[in-house]
């Protein structure tokens, strides 16, 4: 039965924000627990388990919202109640759950016994949920800041490591700068349209007279600079390799998957809901961003010898593919994004999880050559790595292929043939750095492992479950994607501004 929530009453807003409120309360409880138990060396594991409980509860509420067809009674003023919010939230929550599972043992091994880690992770997820569900630019900015501040700290949570501190400082300084751009863009859009509500912006624009507004164009350009930074699009990508390199590996995976997906979810909501009818303002700029991000991300990744930096540059390339989905500016593009975001979360967090098992001390020293002959000793781990690499490449039979296919069809659906061709070329280039990983594992003689790496590959406990689940899901979604694709299509159903365009001003 469909549930209509009245968003004009405080009770209705509280119900609409139920997952976020649940997580906020839970994160505060975890923070207090962390304060009381921080002398206990095992506290972080216990608090990690509790964080998992909170994330699963939020996931259940989101699924319940979606299943019961919860929708707003009237215009959503601050928070959206549509399937795109639920679908995006489910992707972020899955990413966060996988990250927590990877971290449970990792923190102990790397001696980052900081129980606040999980509270910060929950705060980051709250920010993401607000970003994906914002019906207003101010709520979006609030979510972005909540997410970013928590992730800045998480990047530097390994306090004794110089590279970790460098990562956090670099991310913080550049991120604060980018937030400034974003806020200025929001201010100019407000100046042009007189509102920060996405639906009302769409109405103001369709009312005419604003298509050529310089204020609007500059505002959208500044907005794109801010988002370009958050999603790591070229030329705003300079921070990515160093930050992903210095951050603890599960957090690198979290940044590459969930933080990026949240940025894209917010970007797509703005572009489709508010600016969907005025594509002339932004489509050209996003087109170029997509092209150079795909080309430069993939080309620089070719030159990397370290696995962690290679994955960082590959995540830039994938931001380019997702920008292609944004460029289409249609609900089809949004569906392609949702599917790809889920798949990308699985394969990226899986790959970073394996990397965490292969190395020591931040894992930035693991060379691709160090994987030589891994298949002889550890066939299952090599198989999992091969699946992640093939899926990142977009090889048929894996979920990555289906994801790319739908991005391509969304691009072609709006006549962006050239962009589709460049996407395919970018994928061909990316084979040049994904396939050597597989070749090293299967076609080379085993090498003597260097003494600074772990003596044996250390994939145990929950991390093993994460990798196995990701592999199974990637293959399953590669051969039988229909059910999830239907959900992704349903997830972008209400994204276009509703029919208030037909009549009177709200």
């Amino acid at each position: 039965m469909p549930v209509a929530i009245d968003l004009s009453a405080p009770g209705g807003v509280a119900l609409a924000l139920l997952p976020e409120i649940l997580l906020t309360v839970w994160a505060c409880v975890l923070l207090l627990l962390a304060a009381w138990q921080h002398r206990d060396p095992d506290a972080h594991r216990r608090i990690g388990g509790l964080a998992l409980v909170g994330l699963v509860a939020a996931l259940v509420v989101m699924v319940w919202f979606w299943k019961s067809g919860t929708r707003p009674a009237g215009l959503p003023l601050m928070i959206a109640l549509d399937t795109f919010r639920y679908a995006g939230a489910i992707v972020f929550l899955i990413g966060a759950i996988l990250t927590v599972l990877l971290s449970l043992r990792y923190l102990g091994r790397e001696r980052i016994a900081v129980p606040e880690y999980y509270a910060l992770l929950l705060f980051a997820v709250i920010g993401m949920l607000l970003m994906g569900g914002a019906a207003d630019l101010i709520v979006l900015f609030l979510g972005l800041e909540t997410m970013s501040l928590a992730v800045y700290v998480l990047a530097g949570i390994k306090r004794r490591s110089g590279t970790s501190a460098e990562a956090a400082l670099k991310y913080f300084l550049l991120g604060a700068f980018a937030s400034g751009f974003l806020l200025y863009g929001i201010a100019l859009i407000y100046g042009a349209t007189g509102t920060t509500n996405l639906t009302v912006i769409a109405f103001q624009l369709s009312d005419g007279g604003l298509q050529d507004s310089a204020l609007l164009s500059i505002g959208v350009a500044l907005l794109l600079v801010g988002f370009g930074f958050k999603v790591a699009a070229v030329p705003f990508h300079m921070w990515v390799p160093d930050v992903y390199d210095g951050a603890p590996t599960p957090i690198s995976g979290f940044m590459a998957a969930a933080v990026k997906a949240a940025g894209f979810a917010a970007l797509i909501r703005i572009m489709v809901t508010a600016l969907g009818e005025s594509t002339a303002v932004w489509q050209g700029a996003v087109w170029w961003l997509a092209v150079i991000t795909m080309l430069i991300g993939n080309l620089i990744a070719l030159a990397q010898r370290r696995l962690k930096r290679m994955l960082a540059y590959s995540s830039i390339g994938h931001a380019g593919y997702l920008l292609v989905a944004v460029t289409s500016g249609t609900p089809a593009g949004a569906s392609a994004f949702l599917f790809y975001a889920l798949v990308y979360t699985l394969m990226t967090i899986g790959a970073f999880g394996l990397l965490a098992a292969l190395g020591r001390d931040g894992e930035s020293e693991v060379l691709i050559d160090d994987l030589s002959g891994l298949a002889a000793g550890r066939p299952w781990i090599s198989f999992a790595m091969a699946v992640f690499m093939l899926s990142l490449l977009g090889f048929p039979g894996t979920a990555g292929f289906i994801g790319k296919w739908y991005i391509l069809s969304a691009a072609i659906g709006t006549g962006q043939w050239l962009l589709a061709v460049i996407l395919v070329l970018g994928s061909v280039v990316s084979a040049g750095y994904y396939l050597p990983v597989i070749m090293n594992m299967y076609m080379r003689e085993p090498v003597e492992r260097r003494p600074d790496l772990s003596a044996s590959v250390d994939l145990v406990g929950a991390a093993r479950g994460v990798v196995a689940t990701a592999v199974v899901l990637l293959i399953l979604l590669g051969v039988w994607p229909n059910r999830v694709l239907d959900l992704a299509v349903d997830g972008s159903r209400d994204l276009r501004a509703p029919a208030l365009v037909t009549g009177t001003s709200p």
């Binding site: 405080p10 906020t24 505060c28 923070l31 207090l32 962390a34 304060a35 009381w36 921080h38």
Partner: protein, 117 residues
């Protein structure tokens, strides 16, 4: 544009005047350097040591804590001004806000951020 010409002339005169004053004092003045003239302050205590002393990081921590509660005031004053119009709803909202800040304070307290040593 015609009405702006006097303004332009005024600006030109200011720039000209400034340059002439600096130039004249350069040309006409006599310079005699003494140790007292080179000191940072001509009155008060004599300077002790270099200016690049290192401060304990604890000062920054205190400053950060101060900013949190400073910002709290920034939010509370508009609420207090509109208190009657906002009514019970505003009171509950502000209660939640202070509760969340309180959680942060309790956390800091318990972790020892308020201890100086």
């Amino acid at each position: 544009m015609r009405e702006y010409i006097p303004l332009l002339m005024l600006m030109g005169f200011i720039v000209f005047n400034a340059i002439v004053m600096v130039a004249l004092s350069q040309i006409l003045s006599t310079r005699r350097r003494t140790a007292v003239k080179g000191a940072p302050y001509e009155s008060g205590m004599p300077a002790l040591g270099g200016t690049r002393a290192r401060f304990s990081v604890k000062f920054y921590l205190v400053a950060m804590l101060f900013i949190v509660f400073d910002i709290e005031m920034v939010f509370m004053i508009p609420w207090a001004v509109e208190f009657r119009q906002l009514g019970l709803f505003g009171l509950v909202e502000m209660g939640i806000f202070i509760l969340i800040l309180g959680v942060g304070l309790v956390y800091l307290w318990k972790r020892g951020a308020l201890e100086w040593d």
